[in-house]
């Protein structure tokens, strides 16, 4: 068993509620015409859909709720969207760009 203070990997499910930590900044990079996520020694460049997902990660909506919004918007099956969104959010969470 791990000690109570041992940090653990956050596994993203449709129930997870995520937000950007204070030091991760989603902003428009006007000079290069793109959205970026600024992180320590990193610049992430999310595509259009990922930017929408990230804007919805507000610390209140669950991943499932976010996926439902996108499914509605894109007229796509919610389970397909959810799987796609979880994959992307898990990857960014592993890289320290999102927290619960």
């Amino acid at each position: 068993m791990s000690e109570p203070n041992t940090p653990k990997r956050l596994i993203v499910t449709s129930e997870t509620v995520l937000k950007l930590p204070r030091h991760i900044k989603l902003r428009h990079d006007a000079g290069r015409g793109r959205w970026i996520l600024l992180a320590p020694e990193r610049v992430f460049e999310p595509d259009e859909t990922s930017v929408e997902v990230l804007k919805l990660c507000d610390g209140e909506r669950s991943v499932g709720a976010i996926s439902a919004i996108l499914a509605e918007q894109y007229q796509a099956p919610v389970d397909v969207i959810t799987a796609d969104v979880i994959e992307m959010l898990q990857d960014l969470t592993d890289k320290g760009a999102l927290k619960s």
Binding site: H23, G31, E41, V43, D94
Partner: protein
């Protein structure tokens, strides 16, 4: 709906794959605020001829650099040194950088910091702290830095960073005299709550080149560190991001130095000289503009030093026809200069360089002999050791 993809680019100075759009403006600015430092690490990346305090840029000069950087489209500012906290006006510089929309990263040894000051910097918009450690064994760490009590002080600073809920990177330069501590260094980073660990094998320029025989690990020792890091990356997924910088003496291909010359990174020295890389002053045929005389954007786009090795037109064989020429950009110009006498030659770190075999032999020989005493980094010490 389209796929959700997120491109990731490391902005560290030895990382590649900065996209073409970035070529119009640098992504990162390394601001060497001062060459003053209480530590004397024998592998310091500062030039051997350290710039003196009376040549340093003023507060207003640095604030102007921050504003110009924001306007130019620079995204991240790395406040470094020397020891950047030796500047009493660091607060004003951080504040201006944050106002200009820059992502601010403080690269510090920590030993001069007080908790109140760190808190103030955080309030003014400092985004991230990168704290260097010399080893996890305090006696060895203090010996390497020639600074008694340094390791204990750094540990305290790491705690403050986390108490203030700021993101922390631990930077651990790795070499022959601390290489066995690597597993403990990784555990230490987790324990202090760092989100990121930089395990950086020493790059042999300037002070490190003078101390190469004291620092060069054996190939076997290096290979073991690569294994340890790879295993830790897997084990600590979602807990600790680890970036690993390899010693290019043991590489097959050279590193894409600065992600390509004049492509993603710009460096301003304490006196305001603008360099394509922090070691560029070792190239005597380059002319460096100063932020006191010319706008940063103009220097970046048109400065002689930036144009000299930008792109691939300057290349000679074997780089010219190499399929990797836009991956590694022929490696490091300073290393090519130092070892071949021509900065346009391929970096001897490349296995295609005619010098490569000879240079690999040097690493082998030096890593197997007894370690000489360190030449510590301080004003004048390099000259007196000649």
């Amino acid at each position: 709906m389209s796929d959700t993809t997120v491109q990731e680019t490391k902005t560290g100075e030895f990382n590649a794959s900065i996209d073409e759009a970035c070529a119009r403006a640098p992504v990162g600015l390394l601001a060497e605020l001062t060459h003053r430092c209480p530590l004397q690490c024998p592998y310091c990346s500062n030039p051997v001829d350290l710039e003196r305090v009376n040549t340093e840029l003023s507060t207003e000069d640095w604030k102007s650099v921050m504003r110009q950087a924001g306007e130019l489209g620079i995204l991240q500012i790395h406040l470094s040194g020397g020891e950047p906290t030796a500047r009493r006006d660091l607060e004003e510089i951080v504040e201006e950088a944050a106002k200009a929309g820059l992502y601010t990263n403080l690269i510090t040894a920590g030993v001069l910091l007080k908790r109140e000051r760190l808190e103030k910097l955080c309030d003014l918009g400092l985004d991230h702290v990168q704290l260097s450690i010399q080893d996890v064994k305090p006696e060895n760490a203090d010996r390497i830095a020639a600074y008694k009590g340094g390791a204990a002080k750094k540990h305290e600073v790491a705690k403050w960073v986390k108490e203030l809920d700021m993101p922390l990177t631990i930077n651990a330069p790795l070499h022959r005299q601390n290489i066995d501590s690597l597993p403990d260094i990784i555990d230490y980073a987790v324990k202090v709550g760092a989100g990121r660990l930089e395990v950086a094998h020493i790059q042999y320029y300037a002070w490190a080149l003078k101390n190469r025989a004291s620092l060069m690990p054996t190939r076997e020792a290096f290979m073991k560190t690569a294994e340890i890091v790879n295993a830790a990356k897997e084990r600590l997924k979602g807990i600790l991001v680890i970036d690993f910088v390899v010693p290019d003496y043991y590489a097959k291909y050279p590193k894409p130095c600065m992600g390509g010359w004049g492509r993603g990174i710009i460096n301003v020295t304490p006196s305001g000289k603008v360099l394509p890389c922090h070691a560029a002053e070792s190239l005597p045929h380059l002319q460096f503009d100063n932020v006191r005389d010319r706008p940063l954007a103009d220097i970046w786009l048109n400065g002689q030093a930036f144009q000299m090795y930008r792109g691939t037109d300057w290349m000679k064989e074997p780089c010219k026809s190499c399929p990797r020429k836009e991956i590694d950009f022929g490696g490091c110009r300073c290393q090519a200069m130092a070892l071949t006498g021509d900065a346009a030659n391929t970096d001897p770190a490349c296995s295609l360089s005619p010098m490569h075999e000879e240079w690999a032999k040097v690493a082998h020989a030096e890593s197997h002999t007894e370690t000489p005493e360190f030449i510590y980094r301080r004003m004048g010490s390099a000259a007196s050791a000649e």
